[in-house]
């Protein structure tokens, strides 16, 4: 179940974001994640930002100490890996709006890749604090997606939140699916905007994870376990979960407001 792989490539995507590529021949689908073990340090859930072929990848944003240490992994270093786990984006839709905030683009990019490979039309609303932090903007463009940007400081695209861009796009286009990943407050807004136009939304959710096997309950979110029922959820199943967008659980299991 567990493999040890050596990092084969390290790409600084943005000032705060690093992609690690490694040979890993497990079958994977966009939306799924792996448990990445930095020996002597920690094991963390990480979405696969590259899901095709034998060279997979994760894209890590510097948050706390652990993610910073993960970023310092070098080419040739061994890391433990298990998975992939969890649900996937359903790539049957033909005209897709992707809404990503922060590191959310990590899990959305391979989904967009697959959609484009299936000749679907893809529009991306991408948000970041500032223009240099726009993750995978070039990757989305290179695959032929239309990319609309929002930055907190207005250094590129609209000034403000990506949810504004998303609402505007939803009003203009005839999308048959919305895929989103980012802070839950952001995703709640996206879901509300899409609901008005009856467009189904798939959201990728994050919770603290330990077993990733649907057992330890660390990742409980209402009646769901994010590790097995998610991370990609049909928004219709989430909207009635009171904790969604409001509470998560810390490693002790204590409910903590966002």
């Amino acid at each position: 179940m567990r493999s040890v792989v050596r990092v084969s490539q390290r790409v600084q995507e943005t000032p705060s974001t690093v992609t690690l590529r490694f040979p890993f021949d497990a079958k994977a689908a966009p939306g799924q994640f792996v448990m990445l073990w930095i020996p002597g340090d920690d094991e963390l859930p990480m979405s696969l930002s590259y899901t095709e072929g034998d060279s997979k990848g994760v894209t890590v944003k510097a948050m706390g100490d652990t993610s910073r240490r993960i970023q310092s992994v070098r080419v040739g270093d061994p890391v433990g890996i298990r998975g992939p786990y969890g649900t996937r984006f359903d790539v049957a839709a033909r005209n897709i709006l992707i809404v990503g905030g922060g590191s959310g683009a990590a899990v959305l990019a391979p989904a967009a890749d697959r959609a484009r490979a299936g000749r679907a039309s893809v529009t991306v609303a991408l948000g970041a604090t500032t223009r240099h932090e726009l993750l995978f903007a070039d990757r989305f463009r290179a695959m032929g997606a239309r990319v609309e940007v929002a930055t907190d400081d207005g250094s590129e695209g609209e000034r403000g939140f990506v949810t504004g861009v998303a609402s505007r796009l939803l009003g203009a286009g005839a999308f048959d699916a919305v895929w989103t990943c980012g802070p839950e407050v952001m995703m709640r807004k996206v879901i509300d905007a899409a609901a008005v136009r009856r467009v189904p939304v798939a959201c990728a959710v994050e919770r603290h994870m330990k077993c990733a096997l649907g057992m330890c309950d660390a990742c409980a979110l209402g009646p769901f376990h994010v590790c097995t029922d998610g991370p990609v959820f049909d928004a219709g199943r989430l909207v009635d979960v009171p904790d969604f967008g409001r509470y998560h659980r810390d490693p002790s299991g204590r409910r903590v407001p966002f």
Partner: protein, 322 residues
Amino acid sequence: MADLTVRLAGLTLRNPFVLASGIWGESGESLAGAWHAGAGAVVTKSIGSLARSGFPNPTVETYGRWGMLNAMGLPNPGIEEYPREIEVARRAGAPVIGSVFGGDAEEFARLAARIGSTGVVAIELNLSCPHAEGFGTEVGSEPRDVEAIVRAVVREVRIPVIAKITPNTSDPEALAAAAERGGAAAVSAINTVRGLAIDVRLRRPVLAHGLGGLSGPAIKPVGLACVWQAFGKVGIPLIGIGGIASAEDALEYVMAGARAVEVGTAVAVEGIGVFGRLARDLSGLLDELGIARLEDAVGIAHGAPAPPVGGASSDALLTRSP
């Protein structure tokens, strides 16, 4: 349809399959989910006095479908935060058994008193956690400690107290007997078996904590042995735990002497649907074996008279021999 109802320690369960402690036990919604999926009762995660994050990841290692090693480190939100979760589960209708762990008898008693006031139907004492007063051995490996803890708890609460014992002992009977002397209403056996895994490529233990506890089918024989050894030696009912993944597994435990069983790792392997399936399968198995009520099977593997071999009971069958 065979009757799966189980009575033990003053409780009546719709079936013998109880969600084991530490699995789906952090949130009330999950406990409720196990109940809705068909569990006979649910045990909470083991709760301590203060919030604990548990050990860092990696906390689990898996061995195909037959085993799992974990060292969660007893993460829990602490006894003051946890009643909310019990309340959610109770409102869904689940009979909740509250599990607690402590460092000594006094702490156990305090925790039991608190959790006993939340509407749980019974209390299970996790007497097999690696956080002892002593020097690294488990709280529950000495019969005299087990007796003292159980006695202290029983004095504090009015609901049945279940002592969950460790398999990491030379003498499980002695632990069960100590629990009975202390006043336990039932004994549950077993917790995980001490184990370790090493990653030879990373040259270190897989689990951040090093040592862990083995669960799943690999330990079924071990749990069965503990139940087998305790049955008849103690007068209180036994709850079998360890590696149960099929109706036959459960019936093995019952025939060895258990009145109910707890299911843990199988939830990870099969999903929560395991509870509904186990109850259905057990009912079918009992029908096939001509056992009308599960309770009739408790302990029947002990001193079983030899099944009919050339005996009167098979005379009625067609004898086609010439």
